[in-house]
């Protein structure tokens, strides 16, 4: 249902923003040439027929060709997919691991200087926009210290259709700053969420019972407390996936990362509508799938919820 709605909106965009005929035939085409293009691309048919054929083609993965490069739009985007996927995966991993770990540390010793430092950092994390954070990293590590490369993806290795940067040292070095940038905001959010959850759970009766039984701190904190805190944390991490895609656009633009986000921005500047529309549909699919996965994961983590 949602996908259908999105596809309809995409179609409207496709059809009514900018004149596709003008795009395809070029500015200097004669009236006759324009008419030819209109017939050739089926743009002379009634509105609802056009939508049905758009939908049919979309279901087969055919979103038309890029106006600029004349290459299949879906292929163009999918070619960029591995770069974005690797970046996003690393960022999610960093924000989940560091966010939960730091959140636990802060909730155990709320008054220690380290915790105060972490909390101040997390305020920074939500107050500094992603793009600024990325540039500040570049200024520090690439321009001032000259430790890390400022842009690009480094050496990559092609494995089948997948081009990976995980396997070379250069590729990993290029990954560090973009991944840190992308994970920054979510890390701060997850940290705050973990802290809030842990503070609540740690004061509950069953935790007191666990302590008084003489269980080791590790068992009490990780096995008894953290488990209950993780449910909302996982949910939020999954549901903010749309935000992650958005920030990947920003991050890729700063670091000239050859991913889907960068492609989208270039397409926006060039008014390359087929690529933009394909990107939107793809993003909608990914978000939908992630939402379903989170729902299932939720049921698995919390046996009280059942889908009948």
């Amino acid at each position: 249902m949602v996908l259908l709605a999105v596809s309809f909106i995409c179609f409207l965009i496709f059809r009514f923003t900018g004149d596709p005929v003008l795009m395809l035939a070029g500015k200097y085409a004669t009236q006759q040439e324009r008419e030819q293009v209109r017939v050739a691309y089926g743009l002379d048919r009634p509105f609802h027929l056009q939508y049905v054929s758009f939908l049919g083609n979309a279901l087969q993965g055919n979103f038309g060709k890029s106006y600029i490069s004349q290459v299949d739009a879906l292929d163009t985007i999918l070619e960029r997919f591995p770069a974005t996927f690797e970046l996003a995966l690393t960022a999610i991993f960093i924000s989940m691991a560091a966010g939960v770990l730091l959140g636990v540390v802060v909730s155990i010793r709320p008054q220690s200087p380290l915790s105060r430092l972490i909390m101040a950092g997390s305020l920074g994390g939500i107050s500094i926009p992603t793009f600024l954070m990325g540039i500040l990293w570049v200024m520090l590590f690439a321009v001032y210290l000259e430790w890390l490369p400022p842009f690009g993806r480094g050496d990559t290795i092609q494995i089948g259709p997948w081009r990976t940067g995980f396997l070379t040292l250069e590729g990993l070095k290029h990954l560090i700053m973009p991944a840190l940038t992308l994970s920054g905001y979510q890390l701060a959010v997850l940290l705050r969420l973990t802290r809030a959850g842990m503070r609540e759970v740690l004061s509950e009766e069953y935790i007191k019972t666990a302590w008084s039984k003489g269980l080791s701190p590790f068992t009490v904190i990780v096995k008894h407390a953290l488990r209950n805190v993780l449910i909302p944390v996982v949910t939020i991490a999954g549901l903010s996936f749309g935000e992650l895609i958005a920030f990947s656009i920003v991050t890729e633009s700063i670091f000239q990362w050859p991913g889907m986000g960068n492609l989208l921005l270039v397409s926006i500047f060039e008014n390359d509508h087929p690529v933009i529309v394909t990107y939107i549909m793809l993003a909608a699919c990914i978000i939908l799938v992630i939402n379903i996965l989170v729902d299932l994961l939720y049921a698995w983590l919390n046996p009280k919820i059942q889908y009948g």
Binding site: M1, V2, A5, V6, I13, T17, G18, L123, G124, I126, S127, I128, P129, T130, F131, L132, I135, L136, V138, M139, V143, P150, V189, L193, A196, I236, L239, S240, G242, E243, I245, A246, F247, I249, V250, S253, I254, L264, L265, S267, I268, F269, N271, H273, I276, Y279, I280, A283, A284, I287, L288, N291
Partner: protein, 295 residues
């Protein structure tokens, strides 16, 4: 009236909270700077008669080649950084406040409609809201602006509002569902009050506190979003001053060691957002709604 206000709990807790005061004072300073930018700024960075290309890429005044007429240096066009920041603040705050007001009104309207009447209308509004929410405000705003042919401040405001009303609608709908069950609403219905009157006289006032908090939090988010959009090149056009745009231009010069073009607008942006966050943190604790998260 004023005396009564000054004695309220809200004011009492405000004057005792140092970080809330810091935030509010900073925010007031920023607003004044933005309002009086034409008076305060050493030059008008968008008046072509005063901008000299010869003045471009000057460092801040305290450095060797800096000049006193440009306290924080200049950018690649010879515009003073300080002046551009002051004018950029105007854009940030204007977009910020407009979006917060418009999207909260939209959200309140749709949220109340759905929550009060329920049924298929509610289902439609909330499914739309879910979809918008799943896409996230940032992504939707980027995509919307991506397909607009021309961009100005108001298209930016429009795009962020389309993407941003959802939070308000969800919050107000929750409150309406809760308030609706109260005896005084039933009483009002029984006494023959019109739906409109019930909604605005009885339901809305009780559903407002969480909305105020959300607006405060949202202001910071929107200002960051506007900067992000302008940084990406899909926000306000080049002819308008914007902090995000300044940073985007300055980014090209950091490898040449010209840090002032990024750092000063960046710091302004961070300070502005921190100020709002400090204030909204206090507001949230004070009104204590069930808002665990920023979205």
């Amino acid at each position: 009236m004023i005396k009564k206000m000054l004695q309220s709990d809200l004011v009492f807790s405000f004057v005792r909270d140092i970080s809330a005061i810091t935030g509010a004072v900073l925010l007031v300073i920023f607003v004044i700077c933005a309002l009086f930018a034409p008076v305060l700024a050493p030059m008008d960075p968008y008046d072509l008669t005063t901008v000299e290309l010869a003045d471009s890429l000057k460092p801040p005044a305290w450095m060797d080649t800096g000049s006193l007429s440009f306290p924080l240096g200049t950018d690649d066009q010879g515009r003073g950084i300080l002046s551009t920041i002051l004018f950029g603040l105007r854009t940030s705050l204007m977009v910020g406040f407009s979006v917060v007001v418009i999207s909260s009104v939209l959200g309140i309207f749709f949220g109340m409609l759905g929550g009060f009447y329920g049924g298929i209308l509610d289902a439609f509004i909330m499914r739309t809201a879910d979809t918008v929410f799943a896409f996230s405000t940032t992504l939707l705003a980027i995509l919307l602006l991506g397909i607009f042919d021309s961009r100005n401040i108001w298209t930016v405001v429009f795009a962020i509002c389309i993407a941003g009303w959802v939070k308000y609608a969800r919050t107000i709908r929750g409150s309406v569902l809760e308030v609706k069950e109260n005896a005084y609403v039933t009483a009002a219905k029984a006494s023959g009050a019109k739906d409109f009157r019930i909604l605005f006289k009885h339901v809305l006032p009780n559903a407002l506190p969480p909305i105020f908090v959300l607006m405060a939090v949202d202001l910071a988010v929107v200002i960051m979003l506007e900067a992000t959009l302008s940084f990406l090149g899909v926000g306000v056009p080049i002819t308008e001053p914007s902090l995000g745009m300044m940073i985007s231009i300055g980014k090209n010069y950091i490898y040449a060691g010209m840090w002032w073009m990024v750092l000063f607008p960046g710091l302004t942006l961070i300070l502005l957002v921190v100020a709002i966050n400090l204030f909204s943190d206090w507001l949230r604790d004070e009104m204590n709604p069930k808002l665990a998260l920023r979205s």
